[in-house]
Amino acid sequence: AQTVTQSQPEMSVQEAETVTLSCTYDTSESDYYLFWYKQPPSRQMILVIRQEAYKQQNATENRFSVNFQKAAKSFSLKISDSQLGDAAMYFCAYRSATRFGSQFYFGTGTSLTVIP
């Protein structure tokens, strides 16, 4: 089965600075998708960014970008110019691209604190 590991339970960053959240995963599949979801105190799950495994180019979404290393099975999230509203729990997730109805596998999450 696929596993997703987030080794940083908590991270903090100064407002306007850059922070990187780590994620590694284990899979035998070659075609899959990776996601970062944000969960603010309201506990809503909000998609931050996604990456298709077949794409070599790293995904970017405004201040959010990823460093996708397929061979190393690593998928880190970089948040630039951190804002107070970025404070939340961040979950890395994996999903198969070949199996219908396949579930999302989530990591344990990283709690990000933004210091004013």
């Binding site: 996601f35 799950m45 998609l47 979950f91 070949t98 219908f100 109805g101 579930q103």
Partner: protein
């Protein structure tokens, strides 16, 4: 913007009672999911549903759980005889295709007393 909606937002039930959690996925989506998150823990997969049947389920999804899509819009999770350890946030999610991200509802907080 279309969104997944869940009702109720919070439900308190007595141990042993049946509860039904309701979800209205985004209308053109084809894949539906239930996840749960015990406070302070990771988001855990319960079940996925496609073409009017369960396509995948986890070990958590035992005989006390069932899902149904009774009409074209609702997607429900029933817990037949609740236990204290069923207390959690339950998220419904849906997506259009296999290569698309899931949109999550705002969750239903279930408290079993």
């Amino acid at each position: 913007e279309p969104e997944v909606t869940q009702t109720p937002s919070h439900q308190v039930t007595q141990m042993g009672q049946e509860v039904i959690l309701r979800c209205v996925p985004i209308s053109n989506h084809l894949y539906f999911y239930w996840y749960r998150q015990i406070l302070g823990q990771k988001v855990e997969f319960l079940v996925s549903f496609y073409n009017n049947e369960i396509s995948e389920k986890s070990e958590i999804f035992d005989d006390q759980f069932s899902v149904e899509r009774p009409d074209g819009s609702n997607f429900t999770l029933k817990i037949r005889s609740t236990k204290l350890e069923d207390s959690a946030m339950y998220f419904c999610a849906s997506n259009w295709g296999i290569n698309t991200e899931a949109f999550f509802g705002q969750g239903t907080r279930l408290t079993v007393v």
